[in-house]
């Protein structure tokens, strides 16, 4: 009995020691003291909020940013926050100097991302569990949903600018994008009759309707989407419907992922009967600029503008 008591006392003492050690441990601050920010509008601590998302409070300017969203990565570099980025996910392939890792919002856990010792993580809004895990580690997480319109995309760029201490640069960037896009749209003559289009996301005829962000970009030119009757933002469209609808313009946003070319599309059964194929109005897009809502969306607008112009000049 005495032996048993001694053992229990020993265990309890060890436990108390351990608890004491943990409680008294002093740790270095997780982040460096705030450095100079590039404009007076970026003051920290800052509370930033993307509409529809939880507000995020940043005690100081983030110095170790992890981006798990290709769009956010492009935006970070465009607003001048590239130096603060320590890791980006495996799909963030632009700009080339972004430090790509094997991380992914799809299958990385909070511990793996926490291993980068980040002071801000930017992720798609689908990564809610990951965000919870990171918040438990006291890492601020900015979730970025796909926007419904260009205005939402500009707003997102500005929030990322504010969150990283580049408010002014982000405002300048969104203003520049806005005026570039407006100029492109204005310089594109309105076709005599409304044109229809098909925007292909995959060779299985997954597409984007007007309900999607990319659909809202086409809408700037008054184009009618042949997929709209299918409903939802990204339906799989029946090939029969595509051939019957006979769109004036076909945009291929699966040239990188699946190496679809306008020649390959023309060789599909039934497609030789399409006016767009016969008249060379199948446009090969860059999948990335057509699938992201960052600064390069201007390139997408330019491609659409050129395609619309071409319909009027033969």
């Amino acid at each position: 009995m005495t032996g048993f008591r001694r053992l229990a006392a020993l265990l309890l003492a060890a436990l108390a020691l351990l608890a004491g050690a943990t409680a008294c441990a002093t740790r270095p601050p997780a982040v460096d003291p705030p450095g100079p920010v590039d404009d007076p509008a970026s003051a920290f601590p800052a509370k930033v909020q993307i509409p529809g998302q939880e507000p995020v409070t940043l005690a100081q300017q983030p110095k170790r940013i992890v981006s798990l969203s290709p769009t956010a990565t492009e935006t970070l570099y465009a607003v001048g926050a590239g130096d603060q980025v320590v890791a980006v996910d495996q799909f963030s392939d632009f700009p080339a100097q972004a430090p790509r890792t094997e991380l992914s919002a799809l299958n990385s856990d909070a511990a793996a991302i926490g291993g980068q010792n980040p002071d801000l993580v930017i992720a798609p809004d689908s990564a809610t569990e990951l965000a919870e895990g990171l918040r438990a580690l006291d890492v601020p997480v900015l979730l970025t949903p796909a926007p419904a319109s260009l205005d939402d995309a500009y707003r997102q760029i500005e929030v990322i600018g504010q969150a990283t201490g580049h408010t002014k640069a982000a405002k300048n960037l969104s203003g520049r994008m806005r005026s570039d896009i407006e100029r492109l749209v204005e310089s594109t003559p309105k076709p005599p009759r409304p044109l229809t289009y098909y925007h292909e996301v995959s060779p299985d005829h997954y597409t984007a309707t007007s309900q999607s962000f990319v659909g809202s970009v086409y809408a700037l030119f008054g184009l009618t989407n042949i997929a709209d009757p299918a409903g939802g933002p990204f339906p799989q469209l029946s090939e029969e419907h595509i051939v019957q609808a006979n769109p004036d313009l076909i945009f291929l946003a699966d040239t990188k992922c699946c190496q679809v070319t306008s020649a390959a599309a023309a060789a599909r059964p039934g497609w030789n009967a399409l006016t767009a194929v016969r008249e060379g109005r199948v446009v090969e897009l860059d999948d990335d600029t057509a699938g992201r809502w960052g600064p390069r969306v201007v390139d997408l607008v330019r491609s659409i503008s050129e395609a619309v112009k071409k319909t009027q000049h033969g």
Partner: protein, 344 residues
């Protein structure tokens, strides 16, 4: 057991006629309907014009929709449905297990792993059922069955061991597939779509591709109907009647696996056809495999043509993966069947 214990139902001409009529009717119905509203009268007019050489009521684009998209797809559906159902009937006969289906022996898992590897290595091959994907699916399906066969042979030759080996091999290969998918996350979507099954064609190519394999397998399986009935009486009884159970089993498994592999290679994984159709036939006309095998062929084709017609039209102009339709019909049926067996 005396020979008189064999199922006595013979394949009646009326049953055969009913099967042929059902298949032709479903094919016609499916050709008349689709996402593109061509109008069934005009499609009928086009069919008549083709036969008689008269004036076609369809425009060039509409004719392209009918002849290059819809008709090959309907025929492919008939072939794939026939292949899966006839294999299902054969597997149920070989294993003397009414819940066996073409995917039981690791063929689906083998095809899944092989296709995932191909899509992960060369994602540009994923769309539109490219030839490498078809070859991968075909060899993967046969490889999965081969592996199951090898494991089953080592562990013992009885059917229960083979089924267990199939489950183990299937689980292993599926884990391999998941592992590869996690390594290459960008392939997730393509693999997922393939697994759900699809009958989108690139014209007549798939129809011609699957036809020879299916023809060989179907002839073998239909000829083996009586042998499957003999196996049903037990291995010893069958042997006493001059049948070598091991050889029959191997022959039927090879033929059924070939038909399944051909179907999987062009249409992805379409579940439940091989389970549901032979059971419906058994419930409707009863009898032995001499009846069930050929009728499963006809009704399997009809079933999948109808399922695909729904997949094409229920949400038109959007598509539903055909696997969703067959599982919607198949899963409740499976449950009812289990319940009926329990209460019988």
């Amino acid at each position: 057991m005396p020979v008189t214990a064999l199922p006595r139902t013979r394949l009646r001409p009326s049953h055969l006629l009913l099967g042929v009529a059902a298949l032709l009717l479903c094919v016609l119905l499916a050709v008349l309907t689709g996402a593109a509203e061509l109008g069934w009268q005009r499609v009928l007019g086009e069919l008549v014009a083709q036969v008689t050489g008269g004036m076609s009521p369809l425009s060039e684009r509409e004719a392209a929709i009918l002849w290059q998209l819809r008709v090959p797809r309907v025929l492919l559906g008939a072939l794939v449905g026939a292949a899966l159902a006839v294999s299902g009937a054969a597997f149920q006969g070989v294993f003397r297990n009414p819940l066996a289906d073409p995917y039981l022996l690791g063929s689906a898992a083998g095809a899944g792993l092989a296709v995932t590897v191909v899509i992960a290595v060369a994602p540009e091959l994923a769309g539109g059922m490219s030839v490498p994907v078809q070859v991968a699916a075909f060899t993967g399906a046969l490889g999965g069955v081969g592996l199951t066969w090898a494991v089953g042979r080592v562990s013992g030759a009885d059917t229960a061991t083979l089924v267990l080996a199939g489950v183990a091999v299937g689980a292993f290969l599926t884990a391999g597939q998941t592992f590869v998918q996690q390594l290459r996350l960008e392939s997730l979507e393509q693999v997922y779509m393939w697994i759900l099954g699809r009958l989108t064609t690139t014209g007549w190519r798939e129809v011609l591709l699957v036809l020879p394999y299916l023809a060989v397998a179907v002839v073998v399986l239909c000829l083996c109907g009586r042998l499957l009935d003999l196996l049903g009486t037990g291995d010893e009884e069958a042997a006493a009647l001059g049948v070598r159970p091991g050889r029959v089993r191997a022959l039927v498994l090879v033929a059924a696996s070939l038909a399944t592999a051909a179907a999987v290679s062009v249409a992805g994984l379409i579940g439940f056809v091989g389970l549901v159709v032979p059971h419906l036939v058994r419930l409707a006309v009863g009898g032995g495999y001499r009846v069930i095998v050929p009728l499963s062929l006809l009704f399997g084709g009809a079933f999948l043509v109808l399922a695909d017609m729904l997949a094409r039209t229920v949400m038109a102009p959007a598509e539903l993966p055909i696997g969703v339709i067959t599982a919607f019909a198949g899963a409740p049926f499976f449950a009812v069947l289990l319940y009926a067996r329990r209460t019988a």
